[in-house]
């Protein structure tokens, strides 16, 4: 079994050198890990994984609508990715404004966005002819189908996230830890919350390509949660979370390639393993807590 595993890993490493689709997949995983590690750390410390979940599931509505308009109406620009981006950003803005101005319970708003987005997606898909292969990829992830254009988009998102975090790190930390104090210290907490939601939305869309929208919350939160066990600063948590995400994504790709397993599911299993290992190690060797 060990020999078979080694052979499969050797095949994976040799095929990376030969096949562009594998190179793209590896690059996408590594690039996506950067925004995943940074934004995931925000999501975990701010405890807004349910918001990320609502945004992720809402993207189905955007993708379903895009596929419908593309195939049935001939709108060539309506790609699933464009639909996902539009739906995710819209969901983030609605959640942000509802929190700022609305009188409704936040969890009710999130529940409505979560399920309405999915319902819209299902309705459009039911009216779209043909086999929705793209959609299955977005639901469960298909990192092996990442194009050069997608890679540039993921890299651009990384740049945006890194610049924003570097510029406003102290204010973001203050807003995440104690919003009321940050507000009294003169920080525009509503602006930072909205920016955080928008970055979460774009990161979710990126990660949907890697592991699919069904499992995106896990990839966003598990490496960051594992990092939080060891980190004493948010910056350290982000850095460690990026490393752990890269480990899970590249490891997941390598493990799933030989036996032809769904890569998204293997990536999530590895992420969960890393998280579990962190908790156990921290318990026996004394992590931060």
């Amino acid at each position: 079994m060990f020999r078979k595993g080694t052979q499969q890993l050797q095949t994976f490493l040799m095929d990376i050198a030969s096949f562009t689709f594998l190179q793209h997949a590896l690059a996408a995983g590594i690039l996506a890990s950067v925004s995943c590690g940074i934004v995931g750390s925000y999501v975990v410390t701010r405890r807004i994984s349910y918001i990320a979940g609502a945004i992720a599931h809402c993207t189905l509505g955007g993708m379903g609508a895009a596929i419908y308009f593309n195939r049935e109406m001939g709108w060539s620009h309506a790609t699933p990715l464009a639909g996902a981006v539009a739906a995710a950003l819209s969901a983030a803005v609605i959640i942000g404004l509802a929190r700022q101005y609305g009188q409704q319970r936040e969890d009710s708003v999130l529940g409505a966005i979560w399920s309405t987005g999915m319902a819209v997606g299902i309705l459009f898909i039911s009216r779209t002819g043909g086999y929705n292969e793209d959609l299955m990829g977005y639901l469960f992830g298909n990192i092996l189908m990442v194009s050069t254009r997608d890679l540039w988009l993921i890299a651009a998102l990384d740049v945006v996230v890194i610049i924003f975090t570097t510029l406003f790190y102290n204010r973001i930390v203050a807003s995440c830890f104690d919003e009321e104090f940050a507000q009294l210290a003169g920080i525009n907490v509503n602006f930072f919350h909205m920016m955080l939601l928008l970055m979460t939305a774009l990161t979710v869309v990126t990660l949907v390509q890697v592991v699919g929208l069904v499992m995106v919350i896990a990839l966003l939160t598990l490496p960051a949660s594992a990092a939080s066990v060891w980190a004493t600063r948010l910056s350290g948590m982000m850095f460690l979370s990026i490393i752990l995400s890269m480990l899970a994504v590249t490891g997941g790709l390598a493990v799933s390639y030989g036996p032809d397993l769904p890569s998204g599911a293997v990536i999530i299993m590895l992420s969960a393993g890393i998280y579990l290992l962190s908790i156990v190690m921290a318990r026996f060797r004394g992590g931060r807590r």
Partner: protein
């Protein structure tokens, strides 16, 4: 020559949550370098009043002036120490990082300068937690955390300091140390705190603001058992303190 100027002026303040009136026709003034405690039973509107003064809530009617302006306009000159229970202790952050947060609102992007670090360090020395600077905030004891939170508020270089139940999570010895610190700090600026510790309040505080929908302000030395009894709508137990503020030797009480 007039005395210290008024730093807080409240006139005819009314606030309600929906149809439930929480504060009605509240008026009072607080002078510079005055140490004031807001007391009153649970649900009397103490924290609501504090949040109105901080500009986190808007009054239905009436007027609030902080340092001569609306509360929202004085953000950045107000130090605030919230209740400890609202914090996520799993947040990865050192004690020094937490105190530095008091400087995050300054400058264009909130990057910390050498001056910001010096001010934050000074605040930690003043509150006696400088030796804990590199420890995770979560690893500190309740009293140390409270001192770190006070240091963060001092790092703002405030003109007024607001505290919400500062001794809730500390034992009586640590509580007494904190009140001694507030006493020292009140020589520099006004301090207004919500407190349930009538014993500490009667010993260390100049002025009490008794809140129960309406508000009455008077020197702590004038606080009597009957007044407390009426405020808390219940029996009170009389205790005697050596009052160390401006008027010494008075009787005070705490709710039984």
């Amino acid at each position: 020559m007039s005395g210290p100027e008024n730093v807080i002026e409240v006139k005819d303040l009314v606030f309600s949550y929906g149809n439930h009136v929480v504060l009605q026709n509240v008026s009072f003034t607080i002078r510079d370098r005055e140490l004031v405690s807001i007391i009153g039973p649970n649900g009397s509107g103490k924290t609501t009043l504090l949040r109105l003064l901080l500009g986190l809530l808007r009054p239905d009617s009436g007027h609030i002036s902080i340092l001569g302006s609306a509360p929202e306009e004085k953000r950045g000159r107000i130090g605030y120490v919230p209740q400890q229970r609202q914090f996520d202790l799993q947040f990865p952050m050192t004690c020094f990082d937490m105190v530095l947060m008091g400087r995050a609102g300054k400058g264009l992007f909130g990057h910390y300068s050498a001056d910001d670090r010096r001010i934050a360090m000074g605040a930690m020395e003043q509150t006696g937690i400088a030796d804990k600077k590199d420890l995770p905030f979560s690893s500190l004891s309740g009293g140390q955390r409270q001192r770190a939170l006070i240091a963060r508020a001092l790092a703002v270089e405030p003109a007024i300091l607001f505290l919400d139940e500062p001794t809730s999570y500390v034992d009586s010895t640590a509580g007494e140390r904190l009140y001694r610190l507030f006493r020292e700090l009140s020589s520099r600026f006004a301090i207004l705190m919500v407190s349930h510790d009538i014993g500490f309040v009667s010993t260390w505080v100049d002025t009490v603001l008794c809140v129960n929908k309406q508000a009455v302000i008077h020197p702590t030395s004038k606080l009597t058992g009957e007044m407390i009894n009426e405020l808390y709508h219940g029996d009170v137990e009389m205790i005697r303190h050596n009052h160390i503020c401006s008027e010494r030797g008075h009787s005070s009480c705490r709710p039984s």
